[in-house]
């Protein structure tokens, strides 16, 4: 393959990705635009934790919050859409779970399967997790959902990295 050919393919890919990626970030993360534009939060740019929700909006029922994080790969910097299932447990502690299924990476939903209410459900191969993220034995996932590191500051919930938890 000639070098010239390779460059033009890569350029094409780059254009395609930038176009679609930018468009997507705009489309998927509407609720976050407000936060991103908030001048107080701007100072946090570059810090590892990102603001995701107002603490007063967090209930005992898991809710999904969307946000974005900057990622850099070899070619360009982009913003990756992320989400978290967030709720307060009986002790009043905040729990923020990654929605990425530990089987093969689909996005799980809360309470989506009528036969198994109050669980997280993965539509791909019907994996299930209890409310605290523990995988239900007999379904494909072998590990509990990852938990985000979090902190609360000025009434806002900030999330960091999603960390794996020990076995069920």
């Amino acid at each position: 393959m000639s070098n010239k050919h390779r460059v033009s393919r890569r350029q094409f890919l780059n254009y395609t990705l930038t176009g679609v990626g930018g468009f997507m970030a705009a489309g998927m993360l509407m609720p976050m635009v407000r936060f991103a534009l908030d001048p107080i939060l701007k100072e946090e740019a570059g810090a590892e934790m990102v603001p995701v929700a107002q603490v007063k909006d967090i209930t005992t029922e898991p809710q999904r919050f969307d946000f974005k994080v900057k990622v850099k790969d070899a070619w360009y910097e982009s913003e990756e859409p992320k989400s978290a299932w967030v709720y307060k447990n009986e002790k009043g502690d905040i729990v923020a779970l990654s929605p990425i299924c530990k089987h093969l990476g689909c996005t799980v939903n809360w309470n989506a399967d009528k036969e198994h209410p109050n669980q997280f459900f993965c539509p791909c191969h019907y994996g299930r997790y209890t409310k605290d993220g523990t995988n239900v034995p007999g379904t494909p996932p072998m590990h509990p959902l990852d938990r985000y590191e979090y902190k609360v500051k000025d009434g806002k919930l900030y999330l960091g990295k999603a960390k794996p938890r020990g076995g069920a």
Binding site: V20, C106, H125
Partner: protein, 153 residues
Amino acid sequence: MSVKWTVNDVELYLKEKDYIDTAVIPLMPLSLSSGAKATASVGEFVQLLTGELERQLKGRLFLLPPFTYFVTERHEERVRRLAEWTRELKENGMKHVFYVACDREWKEAESKLEGTLFSLPMIPFYDMDETYKQQVIHEQISQLLSAFISQWT
């Protein structure tokens, strides 16, 4: 976001073939003549939606590079080519083949194809208000998501 025809993802696919049983083919028209802008808008929309669906259902979907065709290509010819892609995928073990298209013409071809067609509405995004556009896209993503999931059950 990721393109799925990559070494990493192919590796995962080969390892988890039993689980990744659904190929998704975005159908992408090309044109450089007067309709080019509308055609590009269709392409952008189809890529945006399939990309997001892949992100949410990556454990089961294999998102292929788009099936591209010039709008001037004869109808029977492109149907024949797509049928060929489909046959190849099924022979290699894909249980489901999903096409995602905006172009009405594919509707007529559906009976000649072994995969399932998901038609998106033609939406003139290029002169749409930004906020409204985002709402429409959000809406389309969740509709397509449940359409995919219901095909599996």
